[in-house]
């Protein structure tokens, strides 16, 4: 995966495919001429964006900050819960049961409740983002904290390491790769959560932009918001992946193929 995206050739390929799709879309709209309310051409979407870039970027920023706040909170809370789950049977039973029950509820159905509790500001949106994102963080972190070589723990115990040292020196670094798997899922879920929040009660953000444009049957503006959402989600995902590469150069998935001097 990494190789596909890291090389400039890979990037050129991706951009090429994207441009081809846009060109095809433009041509199709020209040829088939569907009503603009059904499908506007890419050129129209671009014009709409350029006419009011401040409006779109301001609302993108709002959604982005909500997403990042929700994501950061999910990571902090999720890792904390995972540590508690791994360290205590009781915590495992309580937290896991609650988490699984919560996760099986459709979060959209919970959104109005959060609005009642927290008002129409940014707080309920962050809360919904956390609700959506935290599950994968907890599940993957628990997995990572648990899949430790028993001999590594034995080594620590023979050397009289405290449980805290074992957590910091062995369990946590060992869990990082799987925490990143969880984070890559969570970052997209946090964005979905932010949009859901804006749909339910919003006066800003890309979700709000979509609702307003829909009310005015302005399909082109809906598309501007969708494209911005796509770009936002993609960039966020690759930022997480870049951080992963930076922090985990030692992990199997990141290693170069060659093994210098191994004999």
């Amino acid at each position: 995966m990494a190789g596909m995206w890291s090389g400039s050739a890979g990037l050129r390929g991706t951009l090429g495919v994207l441009l081809a799709v846009i060109a095809l879309w433009e041509a199709a709209v020209w040829v088939l001429a569907p009503p603009p309310i059904i499908l506007p051409p890419p050129s129209r979407i671009w014009v709409d964006f350029v006419e009011a870039p401040g409006y779109f970027l301001r609302n993108s920023w709002y959604t982005l900050s909500t997403t990042l706040a929700g994501f950061a909170l999910s990571v902090v809370l999720g890792v904390g819960l995972a540590v508690a789950i791994v360290n205590s049977r009781l915590a495992e039973r309580i937290i896991y049961t609650l988490l699984v029950a919560l996760n099986s509820l459709p979060k959209v159905a919970l959104a109005p409740l959060f609005v009642i509790w927290m008002g129409t500001g940014v707080e309920p949106k962050i809360a919904i983002a956390v609700m959506l994102a935290i599950f994968s963080i907890v599940v993957d972190t628990v997995l990572g904290l648990r899949s430790v070589d028993p001999d590594a723990i034995a080594l620590a115990r023979v050397n009289h390491a405290s449980p805290f040292k074992i957590l910091v020196k062995i369990r946590f670094p060992n869990a990082l790769p799987s925490l990143f798997v969880g984070m890559k899922v969570a970052i997209s879920f946090a964005l979905v959560g932010a949009i859901v929040g804006e749909f339910v009660a919003g006066s800003a953000g890309l979700g709000f932009v979509i609702l307003v444009a829909q009310g005015q049957f302005d399909t082109s503006r809906v598309f501007v918001a969708l494209v911005l959402l796509g770009i936002l989600g993609t960039i966020l995902f690759y930022i997480v992946e870049a951080v992963e590469r930076l922090l985990l150069p030692w992990h199997v998935s990141q290693r170069a193929v060659a093994r210098p001097d191994g004999h």
């Binding site: 070589d149 001999d151 590594a152 034995a154 080594l155 620590a156 115990r157 023979v158 050397n159 009289h160 390491a161 040292k165 020196k169 062995i170 670094p173 060992n174 990082l176 985990l248 030692w250 992990h251 199997v252 290693r255 093994r259 210098p260 001097d261 191994g262 004999h263």
Partner: protein
């Protein structure tokens, strides 16, 4: 010689889904201070379990184990442990991996770091201390894990089939290095192996173990002179020891004649 490890009528029983399993039965032995002592036997004879019990990582069900006069409750002080797999942590360099035993107990001092470097140098890993484990061969990795065990200058070194996963040539190398280190430091070593030749080459005494239930059937003294070059394995005395042990195992029906 003072006894470093005393084991009296030790037994261990596991509960399992199909009823209790007797892993160790009535094990009694003494390991002297500074002795190189091997536990030899086929797989399933409980030799690794016995080592885990001596390390304090696992408790025994009956009998008693004393290390330097102290009854065991958890891992005793001054213990070094080497496992069959090297258990090096991928995110740490070789030097950092060696230092971890010190880090478990506090912040490594400059002196400890120097000692780690010196150990790596002595095991031929000086040039590799800033590499990561996956960049090294199996033999080099196991060398690093021995350095890790030796860093805190343990009084007792427990080794659980440390060379079992290595090729024969690397194994020979490490056998020689281990005897050399042991000769210089004279710490107590308890070494688990299923190779008769390895046990004879390394040990002062060999405890022969048998399965079902795991027990010691015989303790054999190896009176070969030290230092022992690898070539000692071609001498008639060495062959006599190996034949003696093999014969005993065969008489017990543990190996085929």
């Amino acid at each position: 010689m003072a006894a470093c490890v005393e084991i009296r009528a030790a037994g261990k029983t596991y509960g399992s889904a199909r009823g209790p399993v007797i892993a160790l039965s009535d094990v009694s032995m003494d390991v002297a201070e500074g002795e190189f002592f091997s536990l030899l036997g086929p797989s399933g004879c409980g030799k690794s379990t016995l080592l885990k019990c001596i390390s304090g990582l696992e408790g025994i069900s009956t009998g008693g184990i004393r290390v330097r006069g102290q009854a065991l409750s958890g891992p005793p002080k001054g213990l070094g442990m080497v496992f069959q797999r090297d258990v090096l942590l991928d995110w740490r360099t070789i030097l950092q991996n060696v230092l971890i035993t010190a880090e478990f107990q506090g912040r490594p001092t400059a002196e400890v770091i120097d000692r780690a470097r010196a150990l790596l140098e002595r095991f031929g890993l000086g040039a590799f201390q800033d590499r990561h484990p996956w960049e090294l061969s199996g033999g080099m990795r196991q060398r690093a894990s021995i350095c890790r065990a030796l860093l805190c200058e343990p009084e007792i070194l427990l080794m659980d089939e440390p060379f079992g996963a290595l090729d024969a040539m690397t194994r020979d190398d490490l056998n020689v290095e281990l005897t050399r280190i042991w000769q210089a430091a004279r710490r107590t070593v308890i070494f688990v192996t299923h190779s008769i030749a390895e046990a004879v080459y390394l040990s002062d005494r060999v405890a022969m173990m048998s399965a079902g239930p795991g027990r010691i059937v015989e303790i054999v003294a190896i009176d070969l002179p030290r230092p022992r070059p690898l070539s000692i394995r071609e001498t008639p005395e060495f062959a006599r020891h190996v034949a003696h042990i093999r014969g005993l195992f065969a008489a017990l029906g543990i190996v085929k004649e």
